[in-house]
Amino acid sequence: MAPKKQPVKIESKTKADNVDEAPLQAVVLADSYNRRFEVLCQDQPRVLLPLCSTPLLAWTLESLSLSKVKQVFVFCGVHAEKIRAFIDSSPYKHTLDIQCLASQTAMSAGDALRELDDRNVLNAENPFILVHSPIISNYDLSKMVEVHKKRREEDKNFIMTMGVGLGGRRHPESPIMLVHPPSSRLLHYHQNPLSPSEPHILTHTKYEIWESISVKRMHFVNGVLTSELLGKKIAVHVVGKDDIQDGEEESGVKTDKRSGNGGTYVERIRDTRTFGEITRDVLRRWAFPLAPDNNEPGGVQYELRAGNVYIAKDNVVLSRTTTLSGPLLIGPRSALAHNTHIHQSTLGGDCNVGPSTTITQSYIFDDVRIGANCTIRECVIGEGVVIGDDVKVGKGALLGNGVRLGKGTRVPEFARIGRERYQGDDYDSEEEDEEDDEERDRRLEVLGEDSIGYLWPNEEEEPPSDSEDEGDDPYEHPKNKQLLQLGRRLSNLSASSVSLSTLSKASSSAASSPLSIASSASTLPDIAPLEIDSGPREEFYIEARESLARAYEEDHKVENAALEMRTLVMGENAGQDAARSEILNFFLGKIEINENSTSSEILNETTRIFTRWGGLVRSFSTTDYTLIAIDTQKFVLEENNEKYEKWFGILLRGLYDSDTLTEDELIDWRDSSISKGEGTNNELEKKRWKEVYLKGKPLVDILEQMDSDDEEDSEEGDEDDDEDSD
């Protein structure tokens, strides 16, 4: 409490040394842009779903304020007014500067960020924290921000740092990341559905290969930074690693070791599966000090009993014969009748459970009435649901708010029941869309006469949404989506033992066309092999050629053409090597060569084209310009390009004259082993490389000998040489 003077700004909360720093900002995307929770979220946003009777948003805000965040932008899609109302009534209003930004138009996380950027609310100077699903964390994210700032000081090209937790459960959405350990640089990002969840931190010694990698599509980067991303770097920060180093520094300060250790729980609520797991983690105190009895963000007081049983202090009625086996939580004013069994579940406030009912691993929201002799297993039950006597709810079921189940109903496994009818993506509100007979029959058969609610199609049956962003998202693949559900087991999934040898341009395993699997498919799908950098798709080459042709014919500016190419490279995850050779091939192909063209004609033509377009080629070879020469060499060796072969020296000369290549780069080319045919597969090919190499070498030799001051001599010498080599 250093500041003795009257504190003027919000900074009074921070220590004195922080006063002149800009407040740390965070962006919370309140919308998930997917439909995983939809049945529960018909009349409320996902971020207000209660986890342990506290809205997810409250947990997120608590986690953020634990990270010394001062300003939070909550980006809302639908139900923005509810989020606003929640924030206005929450205590965080006093401690954080929270602003709600509503947008109906953003259809993806990328859209949301673009829109955010347009509004200019973020401080451009400072990094911000992006939270794209609700998090529960006891980790101080501001440490990560510090590390990010440090990285940026060293290398301006780091635009983003991703937080990664080591360990944790296996999750169908875990990516594989290749990271260069000394610089924490992300070299490759690969979505890896259905695989073990530990991020594979590979200490791959040959990381140089990946020097010019491009980053595969990531949910939030995509679209936002497209035109700038090339050549930028993304760092990966392993949460918890820095604590070890910080520990030494901190020991001097007056903090106990206690506050520093163990504080590395970070989880995101992404789907119903993680919802259930994280609930249990919170009850088991993994997120300590975020635990229900430690003044939960919601402000409800809970009493902790042995076995991680949390009972609200406010008028909970437990029968003497109630069996509680933790971890579990019972909200305020709930009443459990006799012979009830509650096992690893959460009950919201004002719930009523009838006699002899068993509830196992279920998450029940506020104000739910459950009758007698019910069996409820591994499901989520929305607010205000009424369940009659003798009802059996199968595992994985989701009951939306306000659903009513009649006596004796049997809810099938993984069923989704909503108060309203299911509305697909192509749903048109204008259309009077009456329930047809078949659907009604099915509904009555399953739910019975007394129930109120509509059966939704199972999640994996949902037609894949046709919006462009999600079209090829492997995580939205039905097989994978199925595993995101509450109640599914991952234990019999085995990891494929894929070695790093597949890093070569291996055959791309057929991009699995989204198969629709039958709802009854209880067998678990096999695991896709690890596939890294299989090269860009065919579409890329077609598109690239088209775009270049357009640029060439319509005479675009080099910058514009480069921009277009970059966008394409990003979109197709092609990498700049592929792009460069494509560009080079295109323009070399534009050089007209026929039987009786002379060397000077070809030289003039080459020089003309590359004086105009050389900049485009160079802008796609940021690291090593000798690659241009090598690509040229490769080009003339390709089939159908024999006519170029004998003119290779002239082509190089043309590239040199048009400043596409400099003298030093040509010398590097001459000295490199690749140009002499090293690394080719067979002798014949090597010989051909060598031949071509010998055509180019004299030029470079002469360039080297030549003094820069007598231009005349060199030109003559050049010409002589060319003739000689012919």
Partner: protein, 455 residues
């Protein structure tokens, strides 16, 4: 009532309070001493800058802050201890000022307190912020306030309070009221009767007029003197802070009386008090220290490091060997997180194992602690959550199988504290002398005002 006053939300002090509350709740400030210092600084800020027109209001304000602090982390009792201490100091200072007023003020004013005993029917419940024993005996109080040394009133250490209480008790004894009051007040302290108006009116039956009279001075005179009083109050709080800061040294002063040559001392965790105590003792005596590593926090490692770098022969053992090594130990010295009124205490988990082992082998257990950790609380009902359960990550680790991943079926229980019953402890070595567990309640009673027991 005064206690209902609270800070406005736009007040900078409200923000400071909120900040302290949240950092307490989020365990960003841990350890009794850190908490105590932060609390003292906060209260000092409030006294300095908050707006209040009467002393009631100030006391109510501080009480409400104290209430929020205890809500934020009920296990950090030091925060409320400090609040109680400061409340008491403010009353003392105010009373001194009022007494000074009596001397210099017109003759009508001094008479008011003396009306007290003669008008028992006039109960004034709004004044129960006032110390019962001093106000109820206005007549005897007055001479006390005229004590020749004005400095005495301003001295703030606990021992002085004890001294003051003794002298006051002697004065009271002549009035013979003391027995009833003592029994009443001890009753109140140790059964924790909530401070309902009913129980308050009990006190006031014999004495209600007194506070009323004093209050009358408040409203009229206090505003005039508040400016004068403020620096005095701030100075008093400064002294509390100073005392807190020197706690370790003060405790360590007695080290040579407690440690003999060639003893083998068992300790655990990393209590700063114990560390200072052992280091001080080693200046005069040569002994060996056995440190239990105190899993899962492994604070014992850093203590062993620190002691051995000081030159003390140190042996680090795993917690599992405590019982095996105890026959060779001559004394167990432990730190405390907080000491309760019954003489029991909360200490780092593992301490109970040490204390029980020592009990089995009849080895003395000595607790070194500052008196600011003495809390007027009892481990009533042996509250399950009172030992502050931590994240399982400390025990089974997050890396590899964290988040319950590898150990889904296992429930992990990781308490941070142990509750040690009073009968397991032989002696408390404090910054104000050595005391047996059975005497702690007395010290607590003397250190805090009864009406502050329930904030």
């Amino acid at each position: 009532m005064a206690a209902s006053t609270s800070l406005k939300s736009n007040d900078p002090n409200a923000r400071l309070t909120e900040a302290l509350c949240t950092s307490l709740r989020r365990r960003q400030i841990v350890g009794s001493l850190n908490v105590a210092l932060a609390t003292a600084a906060l209260i000092q800020n409030i006294v300095r800058s908050a707006r209040y027109s009467t002393i009631d209001e100030l006391l109510g304000l501080i009480k409400s802050v104290g209430k929020r602090l205890i809500d934020a982390n009920p296990k950090e009792l030091a925060a409320t201890n400090i609040v109680r201490r400061i409340l008491r100091l403010i009353r003392e200072e105010y009373r001194a000022a009022a007494a000074a007023q009596l001397i210099s003020a017109p003759p009508s004013a001094p008479e008011t307190p003396f009306l007290g005993p003669s008008t028992p029917g006039l109960s004034a419940p709004s004044n129960h912020y006032l110390n019962l024993s001093s106000t109820s005996n206005g007549g005897y109080n007055a001479p006390f306030e005229f004590f020749p040394s004005g400095a005495l009133q301003r001295q703030t250490s606990l021992s002085n309070f004890v001294a003051m209480r003794h002298s006051r008790a002697q004065l009271e004894r002549s009035g013979s009221l003391v027995d009833i009051q003592l029994s009443q007040s001890t009753n109140n302290l140790f059964t924790r009767i909530p401070e309902t108006p009913g129980s308050v009116s009990n006190y006031n039956i014999g004495s209600a007029g007194g506070p009323g009279g004093l209050n009358r001075i408040d409203s009229e005179e206090f505003m005039k003197h508040s400016a004068k009083l403020k620096p005095v109050l701030i100075q008093a709080i400064d002294e509390v802070v100073g005392e807190l800061e020197t706690t370790h040294e003060d405790v360590a002063k007695g080290a040579r009386e407690h440690i003999h040559s060639s003893e083998i001392i068992l300790t655990m965790g990393h209590s700063k008090t114990v560390e200072a105590f052992l280091k001080q003792g080693y200046r005069d005596r040569k002994f060996t220290v056995v440190v239990a590593e105190s899993a899962p926090s492994y604070l014992g490692h850093s203590l062993a490091q620190s002691l051995s770098s000081f030159g003390i022969p140190t042996i680090l053992i795993p917690d599992s060997s405590i019982h095996a090594i105890i026959p060779r130990i001559t004394k167990v010295i432990l730190g405390a997180h907080s000491v309760l009124a019954n003489g029991g205490l909360f200490a780092l988990s593992g301490s109970l194992a040490c204390a029980l082992a020592a009990k089995t082998h009849s080895k003395p257990v000595v607790i070194t602690t500052g008196q600011f950790k003495f809390a007027p609380a009892w481990n009533l009902y042996h509250d399950y959550a009172a030992v502050d359960f931590q994240s399982p990550a400390n025990v089974i680790g997050l890396i590899g199988n964290g988040g319950g991943g590898g150990k889904e079926g296992t429930e992990v229980v990781d308490p941070y504290f142990d509750y040690i019953r009073p009968e397991l402890v032989q002696l408390f070595v404090t910054n104000e002398g050595d005391h047996s567990p059975s005497y702690i309640y007395r010290l607590i009673k003397e250190a805090y005002d009864e009406e502050d027991v329930e904030l």
